[in-house]
């Protein structure tokens, strides 16, 4: 149906008295774009870029926050490369991210699809989101209580089915998975809501056509949902991974890095170094390392998932 396309000749006065930019079919919107990104750009430069540059500078200094920073070249970086606690922190954080994001993304995807294809109930949606309404710290405290080795109801239930008490927050191998799953509980609703919003952009007609053609739900999921969801899913993954790498509150409330560094994740190590031990220069170097890791991971992800393109429009 193209009958509505009216040739410019049909309404000459309108085209000529409208904004001059309409004439410039060249379509270079630079000036307009700059106006549109102005407020965000101001915030970006002032609240993100300036601190970033300053932080990178500080990573080459020794700085205790209260006296002027003293330049010390690559000393902080040399120390970092030789620091076993740093490498352990990196390893522990990566473990955490893999478990956390792996479980969270799969469960969130399942929930979002179920919300779209199975039920339209508002109650279900509300329930799914409720863990996000609880603060990080409270979620951690509740987890701590429920999973306490001797006083928690979790282990008492396990005793009923004959499994001995598990030191969820005190036994080296269990600590990171436990913290990861506590955070899955908290964030899966948020993540699934984002994915769900993405699912809304997929036209319902595609599903109906597929049904008539004889596809099952599972086939439709892999052939329609996943490909068309890619831009949003990629976004959700990148965001989740970046957030997951920076886990802090839960660790600080439950294990404080213990037992013996088993849960001393990078962000926790950074904060303690900066505000507990007043070695802000070294903490900045650690943070730069974290930044580099995030940039690499995000870049790889962005490319792998071709998040910049969409199959829809």
């Amino acid at each position: 149906m193209a009958s509505h396309v009216v040739s410019p000749a049909g309404r000459p006065t309108d085209t000529q008295t409208r904004t001059p930019s309409a004439n410039r079919r060249r379509r270079d919107d630079t000036r307009l774009a700059l106006i549109f990104i102005a407020p965000a750009a101001v915030g970006f430069l002032v609240f993100l870029i300036w601190p970033l540059i300053r932080g990178i500078y500080l990573s080459f200094t020794s700085f205790n926050l209260l006296t002027p920073a003293q330049f010390n070249g690559l000393d902080n970086y040399r120390r970092m490369l030789l620091d076993p606690v740093f490498w352990n922190a990196l390893k522990v954080t990566v473990e955490y991210v893999i478990i956390n994001i792996g479980v969270q993304t799969i469960v969130a995807l399942v929930i979002a699809v179920l919300m779209q294809r199975l039920t339209r109930s508002m109650v279900v949606r509300g329930i799914i989101l409720t863990p996000y309404l609880v603060s990080n710290v409270v979620a951690a405290l509740v987890g701590l209580w429920i999973l306490d080795t001797s006083l928690g109801i979790g282990n008492q239930l396990l005793k009923l089915i004959g499994i001995g008490p598990i030191g969820f927050f005190s036994d080296g191998p269990w600590v990171i998975p436990t913290i990861a799953l506590v955070n899955v509980w908290r964030y899966v609703g948020y993540t699934s809501l984002l994915i769900f919003a993405g699912l809304q952009t997929i036209p319902g007609e595609l599903y109906e056509a597929a049904k008539v053609d004889g596809s099952s739900e599972v086939q439709m999921f892999f052939r329609i949902t996943m490909p068309l969801l890619r831009p949003i899913l990629a976004l959700v993954l990148i965001i989740s991974i970046i957030g997951s790498f920076q886990v802090f509150d839960t660790v600080s409330v439950t294990t404080a890095g213990g037992p013996v560094n088993a849960s001393r994740v990078l962000q926790f190590y950074i904060y303690d170094m900066a505000f507990g031990r007043f070695q802000f220069g070294y903490a900045s170097a650690l943070a730069v390392a974290l930044l580099i890791v995030l940039v690499i991971v995000s870049f790889i992800q962005y490319r792998l998932t071709r998040a910049g393109q969409t199959d829809l429009a």
């Binding site: 309409a22 952009t201 903490a283």
Partner: protein, 314 residues
């Protein structure tokens, strides 16, 4: 669409669903799906049961009976403490910290801050997202990549410079000081909205352009209305995130005038390194603080679902 003769339209077992015993519409697949959903509901709600149980118990009984499944020493004192109706010695005797709580003031402060942040983020991020997805300009790609990098700036870098800046602007201990950094920039919101704007069909836009609309006009009158679903989703999530924000509002506020709910309710956490939190009060505070957010979500839930559906023009 098929052009099969009517006689061939299947009326018996539709092949679209997995084979089911008998002629019922519900297939095994659906049953499994419902079971999975139910399991997820249970796991999601179980800790909440624990929160409610603890909120309705009294602290001294909680210590003596830490793992009984039902409330022990049933009392609603914890809620009284949250609203500021039980203070001083009575509160201390019940295991609380005895601080006075000006609940409604803190609630108002939280609302103002969350509104500022949400409104600012939605508007400014939508504008930027539009520039990155729909406007054509040479530097679009590189600038977007730089904005994305903002997602990865470690929090340790931003806290102190932002704090000093807010102080220099004389915005310490003000609500605007709390809201300002989040209000202007959110790389996540820009990214999120850009992904959505990209899925909007270009045909509608071109139609409007040919009709003589300006790009600005298209943004306000076409793109925004069509993006009500993602905008609402983003708005609700941003609101909740801002509502639950603790560290930055804690740092910026010094007096009650700029104290938000999360910061005020920190009196229920442990005050000294040796004593524990006021468990019952803390759980009650969690429930009370979460309630407005739940209401907000339920009010807007419909918008999140019902998009105008223009993204799928054929």
């Amino acid at each position: 669409m098929t052009t099969l003769a009517p006689a061939e339209v299947p009326t018996s077992n539709p092949p679209a669903v997995t084979p089911a015993p008998g002629h019922k519409r519900t297939s095994i697949g659906r049953v499994i799906a419902w079971i999975v959903m139910a399991l997820i509901m249970v796991v999601t709600l179980a800790p909440f049961y624990w929160i409610i149980r603890t909120a309705l118990s009294s602290n001294s009984d909680l210590l003596a009976h830490p793992s009984t499944p039902y409330p022990v020493g049933f009392s609603v004192d914890s809620f009284k403490r949250v609203f500021g109706w039980q203070t001083g010695d009575a509160a201390i005797a019940a295991g609380g910290s005895g601080q006075s709580i000006n609940f409604w003031l803190y609630l108002r402060n939280s609302i103002v801050v969350a509104c500022l942040v949400t409104a600012g983020q939605l508007l400014f991020s939508a504008m930027a997202a539009y520039a990155f997805s729909r406007l054509k300009w040479r530097l679009r790609g590189p600038v977007f990549a730089i904005f994305l990098a903002g997602l990865m700036v470690p929090a340790i870098f931003t806290f102190l410079p932002n704090f000093v800046l807010i102080k220099e602007l004389h915005l310490i201990d003000t609500l605007l000081g709390i809201a300002l950094p989040g209000m202007l920039i959110s790389p996540f919101a820009i990214f999120f909205l850009r992904q959505f704007f990209m899925t909007i069909s270009t045909e509608v836009e071109e139609a409007a352009l040919i009709d003589g609309a300006s790009k600005v006009g298209i943004f306000f009158r076409l793109i925004l209305p069509m993006s009500v679903a993602p905008l609402t989703t983003l708005g609700v999530l941003t609101y909740i995130t801002s509502w639950n924000d603790y560290f930055w509002p804690l740092m910026v506020s010094y007096t009650d005038s700029s104290r938000v709910l999360t910061v005020a309710l920190a009196v229920f956490k442990s005050q000294t390194p040796q004593t524990g939190p006021d468990w019952a009060g803390l759980m009650a505070a969690t429930l009370v603080a979460a309630l407005p957010m739940l209401v907000l979500f339920l009010v807007f839930a419909r918008r999140i679902v019902n998009s105008i559906g223009f993204s799928g023009l054929k």
